[in-house]
């Protein structure tokens, strides 16, 4: 209180250094009339996060349609590479299931279709499932596909159906990210589309990378023993660790 008073004096003496139109002594008066500030960290952080979201929406709204499209596409890619390590593992899990193009295509298509559906629903607010449930399940889905790779030599018939189910889960995971960006209501469809395209590009890049790496080994007799099974086991182990981490730690 004393401080403020002296600040005012200072401002006056130093030839109005600070051009406050409402002089600082009014802050003292405000303290008396309105009560003093109550600084609570939790509240401040909450307000800050909400403000950040508003800022992002303003920045988005200020961009042109094509800039926004590109931005969301980029965000979609980034959510797979490098930020979506669990999605990368899942896609690799699919890769190690089959060396034939067709079954792989079926699985990837089922996965894409499914996560598009839930992503749209979640972002529109039709479907909300808390992250504490979705995230561990995503980890388990990784374990599942990897374990299946070890148990069955050929891709099972029900595999696309299961992958479709898992895709629904992963879509919910993407949605939490997308909503954190502050999706513009006015440009919802293009933004969603762009994000999805980005995710697809990311997935295809992962598959392409894996294909390049393992192309030569795929016809070797030891492929299943030395590549498919160890790789799948590693994936399953990591997936299981995440599950434990997300539930218990």
């Amino acid at each position: 209180m004393k401080i403020i008073n002296k600040f005012c004096l200072l401002a006056f003496l130093l030839l109005s250094i600070s051009a406050l139109s409402h002089p600082l002594d009014e802050f003292l008066i405000l303290d008396i009339e309105e009560g003093q500030m109550n600084l609570e960290d939790e509240e401040m952080t909450e307000e800050y996060v909400a403000a950040l979201k508003r800022q992002q929406q303003r920045r988005l709204a200020a961009k042109t349609g094509s800039e926004r499209f590109w931005l969301f596409t980029k965000a979609g890619v980034e959510h797979i590479i490098p930020k979506g390590i669990d999605h990368i593992l899942f896609v690799l899990g699919l890769f190690f299931s089959s060396l034939f193009f067709r079954p792989l295509l079926w699985q990837v298509t089922a996965f894409t279709l499914a996560h598009t559906i839930t992503l749209a629903m979640a972002v529109l607010g039709v479907l909300t499932i808390p992250g504490e449930i979705v995230e561990p399940l995503i980890a388990l889905s990784i374990v599942w596909v990897a374990v299946e790779n070890c148990l069955f030599k050929k891709t099972t018939k029900w595999r696309p159906a299961i992958v479709f189910g898992f895709g629904l889960l992963h879509g919910l995971g993407f949605a939490s990210v997308l909503s954190a960006y502050g999706l513009p209501k006015a440009n919802f469809v293009p933004a969603l589309l762009a994000f999805n395209i980005g995710v697809e590009i990311g997935q295809l890049l992962v598959l392409l990378g894996a294909a390049v790496l393992f192309w030569l080994t795929r016809k070797k007799f030891w492929y299943r023993k030395r590549v498919q099974i160890p790789a799948s086991l590693t994936i399953a182990t990591v997936g299981f660790y995440w599950f434990v981490e997300r539930v218990f730690l």
């Binding site: 209180m1 401080i3 003292l28 405000l30 008396i32 600084l39 403000a51």
Partner: protein, 714 residues
């Protein structure tokens, strides 16, 4: 998690523990940011203290260099060098001063306490520097022959005057006496504020749920939260029990006014309001009666030493109204119509009481409740129906468009610049011909580490001394943050506030003077509100309102019927508002026109005599009674509380010029206004500036009309 992916965002405010090497302190570096906007992202809490310390050191060295300059004192080597001094201190002071108001934290608050005595001592070293005054005086004595421009002459006179007013012309004995009075005064002012804060915090109305008759959900919730907070911070179990599950109201206005308006319990209204009006007047340890009287007495003694009749004479010398007589004339002229209107309002309220079949006479604690009832009956304005038309972005467009039509200004939002908080937005303001005028920062939403109220300030001043420097100006408000998907929706009062603060911002942005210390809002207190209050008038012009007030969902323009109601309601309760305000202003003048020979007054008796003389009615208590009049006994408004209404006279009269011309954007008037008011800072006498714009001295007629005090309101 995903936040910060799409755009580079500033980091969370954080406290870092290690002192940064000097080279990394952003205050010691040239800011290469766009437009010289402070690099907020790099400024950490620990950078302030070293910058303040070095800033003060450099400043004193610069002053020494001026004083010890072997050359004869000239305007350039004294006044201009003084103007150039203190750059680093100003740089850090502006950022610090702004952030402690708008985005503070515990570290900054602690720093504020630490810095206060240091800065105060520092400014004393300059304002009491005899060698410096001697040089200024030497230049002043030859001012006639120096061929100075009008602005230079004003700078010289103002600078000299500020030394003289600190006692530079007195002999040693007198100077010692002044120092003694000043230190005594400083202690008393502090004590007054502390007592008042303690008395305000010290009273609580702790209520049970059954005491809440009439209170709305929101008011109950706030009172419950206040109680919960008290229970949480209670130190003893006994205290905890006292608050748990209860509802707390305090004499803070934000808590008291809703209670007085809504509570059906007349006895509790009386209790709370009486506690409010008795603050500092309870004959306890925190009593302010004697302190107030002593402050008035010491000020009168100091004025006499300085050669003035009274403290009011001393203060007003620097104001637009130059003598106590002029101030009294203004206040007296307004008093009668205000009081008359207030008496009508009492009658209106009494009629409601009678119609309710209740048997009491309206008292001061009934005013809020019954004026609200009259308002509903007479004006039938539903605030909630207005809000959807008044989204923040719409209103901003409205104020931008208004200044565009007046002066051709254009605004470009700079989305990529990070400020001190993501809610603080940045615009570049350009003139008609596209030249850069300044940067405007708008920080509109309420938050817990921002002070209440609304204000304008700047991060960088304007000066043309060493090349052209354009300003960075900020408006800080406390509007409600958006909820859910809806945008931030303002009340009409918020809209007026936005236009008001934007008027200050215009004063800070359009300014174009050579010497920074005379730029922008540096003029006298009874003038600087004028450019702000003037702009408010455009917000209430139906054609302008219609241009920006469109429904945020349907796009529909605000209906005429709603606008009409809104404008009619603006004259509501003006009798009360003006009477309580004028009574306090007159009380302020009475205290500060005491002479050194007057005896120490008994504050209660003194106040009573004033109220009796002006004939205030029992139903109204002055806006501030002596014992809680912090503006004049703890702040800088002594003999200055009248400023608000004086500025109102100017803005009503000034806007009337536009109305008379038949065009609220009359280009000729707009140009005169800009050239003589918004650009000039304090480079000329305020009254001269006003007359150059208006063509004559201000008259109070327009104000009486605007406030419905001209007898036209039914």
């Amino acid at each position: 998690m995903g936040i910060g992916l799409l755009a580079a965002c500033e980091s969370q405010p954080e406290k870092s523990e290690n002192a940064t090497p000097i080279a990394e302190n952003p205050f010691f570096q040239e800011w290469t940011t766009p437009f010289g906007i402070p690099p907020f992202g790099q400024i950490k809490d620990e950078h302030y203290m070293p910058a303040f310390e070095r800033g003060m050191e450099e400043n004193l060295a610069e002053i020494d260099a001026i004083v010890n300059n072997p050359e004869e004192p000239t305007f350039s080597n004294t006044l201009e060098e003084l103007e150039r001094s203190g750059k680093l201190l100003t740089k850090v002071q502006r950022v610090f001063g702004n952030l402690t108001g708008s985005n503070t934290n515990e570290t900054l608050q602690e720093l504020q306490r630490e810095l206060s005595p240091l800065l105060s001592a520092h400014s004393d070293k300059i304002s009491l520097n005899e060698g410096l005054f001697d040089r200024v005086e030497a230049v002043y004595q030859q001012r006639e022959s120096l061929d100075l421009s009008a602005e230079q002459l004003k700078l010289l006179e103002d600078t000299r005057k500020s030394f003289v007013r600190s006692g530079a012309l007195l002999d040693e004995e007198e100077k010692a006496k002044i120092t003694e009075i000043n230190s005594e005064l400083s202690e008393l002012l502090t004590a007054f504020g502390q007592n008042l804060l303690a008395e305000t915090n010290g009273f609580e109305l702790i209520l049970e749920e059954s005491d809440l008759e009439g209170l709305s959900e929101g008011v109950r919730a706030a009172a419950a939260e206040a109680a919960a907070e008290k229970a949480e911070s209670a130190e003893t179990d006994e205290d905890k029990v006292k608050y748990e599950g209860k509802y707390v109201f305090t004499p803070h206005r934000s808590s008291m006014y809703p209670f007085l308006t809504e509570s059906d319990r007349r006895d509790l209204r009386e209790q709370l309001y009486t506690a409010y009006t008795q603050r500092g007047d309870n004959d306890d340890e925190e009593d302010n009666k004697e302190i107030a009287a002593k402050i008035a007495k010491l000020r009168a003694e100091r004025a006499k030493l300085m050669g003035y009749e009274t403290h009011a004479h001393f203060v007003l010398e620097e104001r637009m109204l130059k003598t106590p007589e002029e101030v009294y004339n203004l206040l007296d002229e307004l008093w009668k119509p205000s009081l008359q209107r207030a008496k009508v309002e009492v009658k209106d309220m009494q009629a409601v009481v009678n119609a309710e079949g209740k048997d009491f006479e309206i008292a001061s604690w009934d005013w809020w409740q019954y004026s609200e009832k009259v308002r509903k009956e007479k004006y039938d304005l539903d605030e909630a129906a207005l809000k959807p038309y008044l989204s923040l972005d719409n209103v901003l467009n409205g104020v931008f468009e208004t200044t565009n039509q007046l002066w051709g200004l254009t605004y470009t939002e700079l989305f990529d610049i990070n400020t001190y908080h993501p809610d603080a937005r940045v615009w570049e303001v350009k003139d008609k011909d596209g030249t850069h005028l300044g940067i405007f920062i708008g920080d509109y939403f309420t938050r817990s580490n921002k002070r209440g109220g609304a204000w304008m300030s700047s991060f960088k001043g304007q000066s043309n001394l060493d090349g052209e420097e354009r300003p960075i100006v900020v408006n800080v408000c406390n509007f409600p943050a958006p909820v859910g998907d809806a945008p931030s929706l303002l009340s009409f009062e918020n809209v007026t506030t936005l236009f008001h603060e934007f008027g200050h911002a215009m004063h800070g942005i359009l300014t174009n003077v050579t010497y920074g210390s005379m730029s922008g809002t540096s003029g006298p207190r009874d003038f600087t509100e004028f450019p702000a209050q003037l702009l408010e008038h455009w917000a209430s012009e139906p054609e302008i309102l219609k241009s920006f007030a469109t429904h945020y969902e349907t796009g529909e323009v605000m209906p005429d019927e709603l606008i009409e109601k809104l404008l009619k309601a603006s004259k509501f309760n003006q009798g009360f508002a003006n009477t309580e305000y004028l009574a306090a202003s007159i009380l302020d003048m009475d205290w500060h026109t005491l002479t050194a020979d007057d005896q120490l007054k008994d504050a209660d008796a003194f106040e009573e005599a004033t109220m009796k003389r002006i004939g205030i009615i029992d139903e109204i208590v002055p806006r501030y009674r002596s014992t809680y009049f912090a503006h004049i006994f703890a702040g800088g408004y002594a003999a200055g509380y009248y400023s608000y209404v004086h500025s109102a006279v100017l803005d009503s009269d000034g806007f009337e010029a536009f109305k008379e011309s038949g065009d609220v954007f009359n280009p000729e008037l707009a140009a005169k206004l800009r050239e003589n008011v918004y650009e000039k800072g304090s480079t000329e006498e305020a009254m001269e500036l006003y007359k150059k714009f208006r063509g004559r001295e201000p008259s109070i007629d327009a104000l009486l009309k605007v406030r419905g005090l001209d007898g036209s309101t039914d």
